[in-house]
């Protein structure tokens, strides 16, 4: 009867059928591909984040499921806690000093390596710059714990590398100086370690961004008589401003949870809590004191700090970018 040879009258329903099967096929494909990733995301990320906001308003101690709604009590008691305030101050200090130091150094190194070469001929990097690039990046690949462990040994008062070298050079007052055990130096010494570990990543990032700037821009600047400092400031910096901005935000996030470094360098938060960070205190509050309500309140507060930090960075960079564009137009 109707064999596959007869085409008369068949195409219409067939095409509609085909379209429907394709649509069903496509829908099953989408669902099949999304079901696992979305489940993992909802169970292990979205739901813990959302729960945190609720737990932060309870007096939950974690040992049983009973908890009372206490409103903002956790937040008010937090600000009456001197240890929390010390941790907050330290975390803000880290956020202020480290990203600026890391990005300034990374910019200088990246510029020197890509455009700091001889001022005749093509614009090129310092001779042997690749070596510095490779060396600088390496610490970034090592776990924070191991970096911290190495530096804790380097800083050790009597058997450490630093004091042995200093004493050997004649600075005998450093014979047994405790860099991490002195409230005046513990924070700076810890900051240096984090700087040491992170700067290479941003050097490589900026080198890539600078390489994206057309060479003619540099040649033109040179013809106009711009020296290295002028080129760096007026050509390179504005061109890679977007990279610097996203690095600033990301680095702020990273620095604020410099948990691994700090846990190894100063497990108890340093002398007189001088290096205790918010994340370390949150961890202690939750998992040694068992005050889960208070700890999640700190987590919520931490998220707020990061939000404000990112907002400020975006604001500053918008102002900078705006100024430059106006300057260029005038």
């Amino acid at each position: 009867m109707t064999t596959s040879h007869t085409t008369v009258g068949r195409p219409r329903p067939r095409a509609a059928d085909r379209r429907r099967t394709i649509r069903v096929q496509r829908a099953t494909f989408i669902v099949a591909f999304l079901v696992l990733p979305v489940t993992v995301f909802v169970v292990f990320i979205a739901s813990p984040f959302l729960q945190a906001f609720y737990y932060s308003l309870t007096d939950w101690r974690g040992f049983s499921q009973d908890m009372n709604f206490v409103g903002l009590a956790n937040f008010t008691s937090m600000f009456g806690d001197p240890v929390f305030l010390a941790a907050l101050r330290n975390s803000l200090l880290l956020c202020l000093v480290l990203p600026t130091a890391v990005l300034a150094a990374a910019f200088l190194i990246a510029f020197t390596v890509t455009a700091g070469g001889p001022s005749v001929g093509h614009v090129r990097g310092l001779r042997g710059g690749g070596f510095y690039r490779i060396i600088t990046f390496f610490p970034y690949t090592i776990p924070a714990i191991v970096v911290g462990l190495i530096w804790a040994q380097v800083y050790d008062p009597t058997r450490g590398l630093l004091n042995s070298v200093l004493t050997g050079l004649g600075f005998t007052e450093f014979a047994s100086f405790a860099w991490l055990g002195d409230a005046d130096t513990a924070m700076a010494a810890s900051m240096f370690v984090i700087f040491w570990a992170l700067v290479g990543f941003y050097v490589v990032l900026f080198i890539a961004a600078i390489k994206g700037i057309p060479g003619e821009t540099y040649e033109a600047a040179r013809l106009d008589g711009a020296g290295r400092a002028r080129t760096a400031w007026s050509i390179t910096l504005p061109q890679i401003l977007a990279s610097i901005q996203s690095s600033y935000v990301y680095l702020g996030l990273m620095v604020i949870d410099s948990f691994g470094f700090m846990m190894v360098l100063n497990p108890q938060g340093g002398p007189a809590y001088s290096t205790l960070t918010l994340t370390q205190y949150l961890y202690m509050t939750a998992f040694t004191k068992g005050q889960f309500g208070d700890a999640t309140a700190m987590g919520v507060f931490l998220a707020l700090v990061i939000l404000i930090y990112s907002g400020i960075i975006f604001g500053i960079f918008r102002l900078l970018g705006g100024d430059r564009r106006r300057g260029a137009g005038a």
Partner: protein, 280 residues
């Protein structure tokens, strides 16, 4: 011209001087660690800068067996390796569907993942602890693996989304015309084309997961399940005279050597992945 050349030399000298000192600050602590790893504890305490009198390779044996570094190494490779494979597969699937199909909920999923990247893990850590406990996954390696997968997922999706979006449409059309279904089009055509992007994001995920400390210290406290970073931090918290310093330095060297080798071999590719993953 003359003056210019002299300025160049002055600049190059200063730059090499500063960068040279910086390089020494990186290299010397490593060399000192290697040297100390070959000394006995008493030698380390007595004269930190003196070279070892006899080379004590037994430090390495003790670190590997007694301190458990071997076991932790195995756990780390197991957890990071399987998490990496799973997250690359799930991430690619999710990113592909989000980037190339339009359906209700598409934007919601994408933005939810994007937003979760800007939250600190610390906000989620306490509820996460109890989620894993309720699922019976607390202190187990599968539990840690699935958490690693979850926390690497948003970045993987975000990164690969842009990659799949930029892949040409005509290859996909050609595959479809040749009779390939959606599954075949993905696994035989699109996924191989995305290989460079996959490699980049895999490298960044590998570094991130290999270095992870906070998730294991909270969610994986049973000692036989420890990962490398936990074993290393145990050295830091065991203070006092009883510490086996030789073994500790040996453990540090053993964790660095594989990374160093991988870094030297894949150095170009690694740096390529950094410059592509601008957001992380």
């Amino acid at each position: 011209m003359q003056r210019r050349r002299r300025a160049d030399i002055a600049y190059a000298t200063t730059a090499h001087g500063a960068l040279g000192i910086w390089s020494l600050l990186i290299i010397v602590p490593f060399l000192w660690t290697v040297m100390s790893s070959l000394k006995s504890s008493s030698e380390i305490l007595a004269s930190p800068l003196a070279p070892p009198t006899t080379w004590r390779f037994d430090n390495y044996v003790r670190a590997w067996t007694t301190a458990g570094i071997g076991e932790f190494f195995f756990n780390t490779i197991l957890v990071v390796g399987s998490a990496l494979v799973i997250v690359m597969l799930l991430g690619a699937m999710c990113a592909y569907v989000l980037a190339r199909f339009s359906f209700p909920g598409n934007r919601v999923i994408y933005y939810a993942m994007l937003i979760s990247m800007s939250f600190p893990i610390f906000l989620a850590i306490v509820p996460l602890f109890f989620t894993l406990q309720n699922l019976g996954l607390l202190n187990t390696l599968p539990g840690l693996t699935v958490t690693y997968v979850a926390f690497a997922l948003p970045f993987t999706v975000f990164f690969l989304y842009a990659f799949f979006e930029s892949l040409p449409h005509d290859v996909y059309e050609a595959a479809k015309i040749d009779g390939a279904g959606e599954w075949r089009a993905f696994f035989s055509v699109m996924l191989p084309m995305a290989a460079p992007g996959m490699a980049s994001v895999a490298i960044l995920n590998f570094i991130g997961l290999w270095n992870q400390f906070m998730l294991p210290i909270v969610l994986n406290t049973k000692k036989e399940n420890w990962v490398l970073t936990q074993g290393m931090s145990a050295f830091a918290s065991s203070t006092g005279r009883s510490v086996d310093y030789g073994a500790m330095f040996a453990a540090v060297v053993m964790t660095i050597i594989p990374v160093l080798i991988v870094y030297i071999i894949f150095q170009r590719r690694l740096e390529g992945s950094v410059s592509q993953g601008t957001f992380r």
